[in-house]
Amino acid sequence: MSNEKRSSAFEYAPAPESRSIVDIAPSYGLFIDGEFTEAADGKVFKTVSPSTEEVLSEVAQAGAEDVDRAVKAARRAFEKWSALPGSERAKYLFRIARIIQERSRELAVLETLDNGKPIKEARDADLPLVAAHFFYYAGWADKLDHAGFGPDPRPLGVAGQVIPWNFPLLMLAWKIAPALATGNTVVLKPAETTPLSALFFADICRQAGLPKGVVNILPGYGDTGAALVAHPDVDKVAFTGSTAVGKEIARTVAGTRKKVTLELGGKGANIVFDDAPIDQAVEGIVNGIFFNQGQVCCAGSRLLVQESVHDELLESLKRRLSTLRLGDPLDKNTDIGAINSEEQLARITSLVERGEAEGAERWSAACELPSSGYWFAPTLFTNVTQAHTVARDEIFGPVLSVLTFRTPDEAVAKANNTPYGLSAGIWTEKGSRILAVANRLRAGVVWSNTFNKFDPTSPFGGYKESGFGREGGRHGLEAYLDV
C-alpha cells in the first residue's frame, strides 16, 4: 500500500454548501393516508449523518400493523385514482416534478446529509434525474393506449415498493413515478439509513394536492419491507437492493398473483482495449467505480484491461485517484463522500481484508480520512484473478479489482463470468469492436466509451441474478400494468 502523498498544483479552499436551506424536524412519523402518524407500537429509530455521525432526526418505525394500515389506505385510494382520466393523473405528476425542481437545492442538501454523498453529485445527478423521471412518466399517464400494451391497459392495484439507501430519492422516483402514471397506488419503504428524503417527498405530495392514500411512506428496517412484500393485499412488488433479499422476495411471492420486478446487485466489467484513449478511459473508470463511493449496483467494479496497456493505464489511474478529494460531502469540491453506514463500512473493510489475504495486491490513494464518520479511501487491487473474492462478490464501495486479458474473446468470457448481469463498459476507438463486444455481453446496460449514464427514457435493469424487469422508458410501464 503506497502512502506517497502527491502534491497538487492547486490547494482548494473549503466551499461548503449551506445546510441552512434545509429544515430537518427533530422527529418524523409514518406517512399514511395523507397524514403523518406514529407507529402503532410507538417504535422509532434514529437516522444519522454518515459524515459526522450526528443524529439528524428520529423517525417512526413501521411494524406489521402499520403496513396493514398503509396498504388499506392505498387500496381505498386506488379506486378513485385509477379511475381518474390519465390527463388528470399526468397533471399531478407534472406538479410533483415542478415542485421537486423548485425545492431541488433543499433536497440535494438533505440527501447529502442523510446519505453522505458529495453535494456535487446530489445536486448535479440525483436531483435533476428525480425531476426528469417524474416529468417523463407524467407524460405517459394519458398515452398508455399507445404504449404497445394493447388498448386500455389496466393498473395492477397496490404497489409495495422497497428501495435502497444509495440513491434514496432517485430510487423513490424510479418506483413511484411509473406506478402513479399507470394508475396504481403505492406503499413505499425507504431504507433505514436514509428515510428523510422520502418523508420530504410526502410533503411534496401534500403541496401537489395529491389525493390522500395514493402515496404512503413507511420508514423501517428489513422486517418492515418483508411484511409489505408478504401482505396479501399487495398486487405488485418492486424491489431494489441486494440479490440475497431479491431471492427471498421471489420465494415469498411464489404461488401468488403478485407481479414482481427486482433490480439487484452487480459486478460490472469495464473493458479497456489497447486502442482506447487512456485519459478518457481513466475518467470513465473513476466515474464507474468511485461515483457515489462505489455504492452503485451498476458500478464498473471489475476493470478488465488489455495486457499491453495495463502498466500505462494503471499509472494514469493511480495518478488520477491521488487527486480525488475525499471529505465533507457538503463541500462543493468534494469528489468522494462518506460511506453510508457503519455496517456498510465494515462490509467493505472485511472484503478488502479478504482480498489482501487471498493475495491480491492492494493500493489505496493517500488521503487523510476525517476523524468522525464512515470513510474509505479509493482503493484498487491488482494481480486479481477470477477466483478472488474481490473479483466475484459485490463490494458496494470504492474498491476496484483490476484483471487483464489478451483477446476480445477472453475479455467477453471474463466479463460474463459472473452470476450478475447488470452493467458493462467498453473502451475502444474501433466501432465494429464496440458492437461485437456489446452484442456478446450478458448485461442489461452497456456503456461504450462512457459509463454510469442514466436517463428516464432509457430502460435500466439486469440479466441473470441482477434481477428482472426494466425501469425507465416505455419498458418501465410494463412493470405496473396488468399485461
Binding site: A250, P419, T457, S458, H475
Partner: protein, 295 residues
C-alpha cells in the same frame, strides 16, 4: 381395412439432436382416452433433465447468434415438415385428446399455422419492443431484446400438440433454447414433434423434449443453476408454487400458469416477451461544432 399388422414405433426422447431412451431405462404406459394401450414412452429421470440442459446450453450460442431471418426460415421449415406429416399428427392428437379425426385435423392445422405465425415474428419483435431512446444528452442509446437463455417449458397437460407448440415456438423464435417436458398423459405428439424438428434444420439441442412424470422432471429443472427461465404452463397450482420457490434460487424468469380457454386464439406477444431481456447500449454522439448547422 387391410388386416396387415402395423409396424409400431418406439417413442424416444429428443435430446441434443439425437433420440435417446431414458438413461434410467424406464418407460411408462401411454393410453388413449379409453384406456387402450398406445405406446411405452420413456420415463425421464433427473439425469435426463440435466443432460437436456447441457445440450440446450451448448446450442444457445449458435441459435441465439443466428440471424433473425435465418431463425424465421428454420421455423417455417418446421411448418413445411409438419404439413407433410399431418395425418400422423391427426392420428396422435385424436388418440391423445379423445376427439374425432376431423376435430383433430382442425387442431393440427391450427398448430401448423401457429408455427408459421411465430416464424414470421423472429425478425419483427426487436422493432416492436426495442428502439432508440431519446436521452437528454449527446448519446446514441438503443434498447434491443435478447433471448434469456435456456428455458424449461412445462407443456400444457391437456392440449398435447397445439398447446405444446403454442408455448414452445415463442421461446425459440426469439433465440432461446428449450427443454420441454411433454404432457404427462399425452406425450406422443410431442415426441413425434422431435422427429419433425430433427429434419427441419433446427440445430440439435435447440429444442429438447422429455416425457415422463412432470413433477419428477420439472423439479431438477426448476432448481438447475444453468436454466435461465421456466414456463410453468403444465404445472398444477401446488407444483407451480413449489417450482417457483426453487426457481428463485438463481432468479429464473418464471411464467406462471395461466388459464387458457382457447389455444386457437391468436396469441399476443406475452409468451415471447416473458423470455426476453432488454439490453441498452449507450455511446457518445460527439459533436460537429458550430459548423454543423451550415447546410
Amino acid at each position: 381395412m387391410s388386416d396387415r399388422l402395423s409396424v409400431l414405433k418406439t417413442y424416444k426422447l429428443y435430446v441434443g439432436g439425437k433420440f435417446p431412451r431414458s438413461e434410467s431405462g424406464r418407460v411408462y404406459e401411454v393410453t388413449d382416452h379409453k384406456g387402450k394401450w398406445l405406446a411405452n414412452a420413456p420415463q425421464s429421470s433427473r439425469k435426463d433433465a440435466r443432460d437436456a440442459v447441457v445440450a440446450a446450453r451448448k446450442a444457445f450460442g449458435a441459435w441465439s447468434g443466428a440471424t433473425a431471418y435465418n431463425r424465421g426460415q428454420v421455423l417455417y421449415r418446421v411448418a413445411e415438415m409438419l404439413e407433410g406429416r399431418k395425418s400422423q399428427f391427426v392420428h396422435e392428437v385424436a388418440d391423445a385428446e379423445g376427439v374425432s379425426k376431423s376435430k383433430a385435423a382442425v387442431v393440427v392445422e391450427a398448430t401448423i399455422d401457429r408455427w408459421v405465425w411465430y416464424a414470421g415474428w423472429t425478425d419483427k419483435i426487436a422493432q416492436v419492443i426495442g428502439g432508440a431512446n431519446p436521452v437528454a444528452g449527446p448519446y446514441f442509446n438503443l434498447s434491443s431484446p435478447e433471448p434469456t437463455g435456456v428455458v424449461a417449458v412445462l407443456a400444457p397437460q391437456e392440449s398435447s400438440f397445439l398447446g405444446l407448440v403454442s408455448v414452445l415456438a415463442p421461446v425459440i423464435a426469439t433465440g432461446n433454447t428449450a427443454v420441454v417436458v411433454a404432457s404427462e398423459k399425452s406425450p406422443l405428439p410431442a415426441l413425434s414433434l422431435g422427429e419433425v424438428l430433427a429434419t427441419s434444420d433446427v440445430p440439435g439441442g435447440t429444442v429438447n423434449i422429455l416425457s415422463g412424470r412432470t413433477a419428477e422432471i420439472a423439479t431438477p429443472l426448476a432448481a438447475h443453476q444453468d436454466v435461465n427461465a421456466i414456463d410453468l404452463a403444465g404445472a398444477d397450482e401446488a407444483l407451480a408454487k413449489e417450482l417457483e420457490i426453487a426457481a428463485a434460487d438463481n432468479l429464473k424468469r418464471v411464467l406462471r400458469p395461466q388459464p387458457v380457454d382457447d389455444w386457437t386464439a391468436t396469441p399476443g406477444l406475452d409468451r415471447m416477451t416473458a423470455f426476453l431481456e432488454t439490453k441498452t447500449v449507450w455511446h457518445p454522439t460527439g459533436s460537429l461544432g458550430a459548423s454543423g448547422s451550415s447546410y
